[in-house]
């Protein structure tokens, strides 16, 4: 095989020496492709060239042969760099496969069931910017029309954020109470997160407890993007502010809670900063733009509104999503 390659190369070289045509050079290019496919190192190529030259022009002065030896010596490191690249590419592929598996595990692990509640239409969309999602939506509900929702966002993206999120999920699971009060939930999860994670990793979380019988939402926030209330009657949007520190910063943090009553056609919009922090060349996408998108679709089912906002925001950002995107809309019907 080596013999065959050597003689092939010698033939290409011989023809080139005779004619110097473009066709000869093209043959050379094709041959180099073959060499690469067979993992032939640069030093071997030069060595092959030297041997072919020696056969054809044995009378050349020694300086010519010495020059090739220097070149061979120098090409060793290039050859190593090439092999290293091959091996890194393979590693990258392995990591990609592993990440895919991890993303599947995460999806299964963090799966939540959207509750069905009397008089409430729920729309939900959570799309990760990379493979793993650092945003999280968690529902807990019972048969008597009580449902809790947590919308959380880990500061940071990717794998570390996803691992951190599993912790929040298990914290919520251990509470397992659809009537829990937001300030108590945030308090418990704050202590779970505070104890377990790194100093520069934090979680923001919105927690809302919905009572279908009374059509009221009691909510609290731990440093989370405020929820938005759309009033159908006045066609106005307002922020539902609620004071509270990010989870994981201080064990002493205290959380507020407030209650709103929903009327027919009202929308309660919960999201992560991936929705509000969108940017394109012209600058930030202002909140008013998002309000307008929602307003356009206010008479549609909640899932249609959510999808519309996502599609339009992605379009405005040239099909790029820079942060995990999570949007939940409660629509009183």
């Amino acid at each position: 095989m080596v013999q065959k390659i050597d003689s092939q190369y010698k033939e290409i070289l011989r023809q080139y020496m005779q004619r110097q045509s473009e066709q000869n050079l093209y043959d050379g290019q094709n041959f180099s492709r073959q060499l690469i496919a067979e993992n032939t190192s640069p030093e071997e190529v030069i060595s092959m060239h030297k041997a072919a030259m020696q056969e054809m022009y044995e009378d050349l002065p020694d300086v010519v042969w010495h020059s090739f030896d220097l070149l061979i010596e120098m090409m060793i490191s290039y050859g190593l760099a090439l092999q290293e690249r091959e091996s890194l590419l393979q590693r990258q592929e392995e990591l990609r496969v592993e990440m895919d598996l991890a993303a599947n595990v995460q999806e299964t692990l963090l799966k939540t069931t959207t509750p069905s509640l009397e008089g409430l239409d729920i729309g939900l969309l959570s799309i990760p910017a990379r493979k793993m999602n650092g945003d999280y939506v968690y529902f807990v509900s019972d048969q008597e029309g009580h449902a809790g929702i947590a919308v959380a966002d880990v500061i940071g993206k990717g794998l570390p954020a996803a691992l951190c999120m599993s912790m929040v999920k298990f914290g919520m699971d251990s509470l397992n109470n659809s009537r829990a009060r937001p300030k108590d939930v945030l308090d418990v999860i704050n202590r779970v997160v505070e104890k377990s994670i790194d100093d520069s990793m934090f979680v923001s979380m919105f927690y809302g407890s919905y009572n279908a019988g009374e059509a009221t939402m009691t909510y609290g926030s731990a440093g989370h993007e405020p929820a938005i209330l759309y009033r159908a009657k006045s066609e106005t949007f307002s922020e539902l502010n609620s004071k509270g520190l990010l989870l994981g910063v201080s064990p002493a943090a205290k959380y507020e809670e407030h209650t709103v009553h929903l009327e027919q056609g009202d929308l309660l919009i919960m999201m992560t900063d991936g929705v509000t922090e969108g940017r394109n060349e012209e600058g930030f996408i202002e909140r008013e733009v998002i309000f307008e998108l929602i307003h356009q679709m206010k008479d549609e089912p909640a899932q249609v509104i959510v999808r519309h906002v996502y599609d339009e925001l992605v379009r405005m950002q040239n099909a790029e999503l820079s942060d995990d995107f999570t949007l939940v809309i409660y629509k009183k019907v």
């Binding site: 030093e43 030896d69 010596e73 490191s77 190593l80 760099a81 290293e84 590693r91």
Partner: protein, 133 residues
């Protein structure tokens, strides 16, 4: 000079001496130009590691025969700080010497056999062998 089988590594000049020793032995054993270049590059890399990280050590060149096969073994030994995470320095993309960019994974690729023995605080012993085909 060809009788000398080891070179003390203390200065950068000693790296050249170690290369020269390795090349002479490799040539005598009948290695071709390309393999000579590989062997000396491996020696360079190992000697450089000693010079940069241990400060002082030794490169020894041994001729091997095994069932009629001839080979060369480079032994790089030092009493330096040792390597705390061998797995890491053997990983691609983690270059220690920064010079040739080859590092220990490069040495392993250039040679046929590679063995590393290191204890933190005591030193490192690396043996790399290439057989004549």
């Amino acid at each position: 000079m060809s009788n000398q089988s080891s070179v003390e590594i203390q200065t950068e000049w000693d790296i050249v001496a170690a290369r020269q020793l390795g090349r002479n032995v490799a040539k005598e054993l009948g290695f071709g130009t390309v393999d000579q270049a590989r062997i000396t590059t491996a020696i360079s890399e190992l000697a450089r590691n000693i010079y940069l990280y241990a400060g002082h050590g030794k490169i020894e060149i041994q001729r091997l025969t095994n069932n009629g096969m001839k080979g060369i073994m480079i032994i790089a030994a030092d009493n330096g700080p040792g390597i705390s995470d061998v797995r890491k320095v053997m990983e691609d993309g983690f270059s220690t010497s920064g010079g040739l960019g080859a590092g220990l994974p490069g040495v392993k690729r250039l040679m046929d056999e590679f063995k590393i023995d290191t204890t933190q605080g005591e030193g490192t012993d690396i043996r790399a062998t290439k057989w004549l085909r």
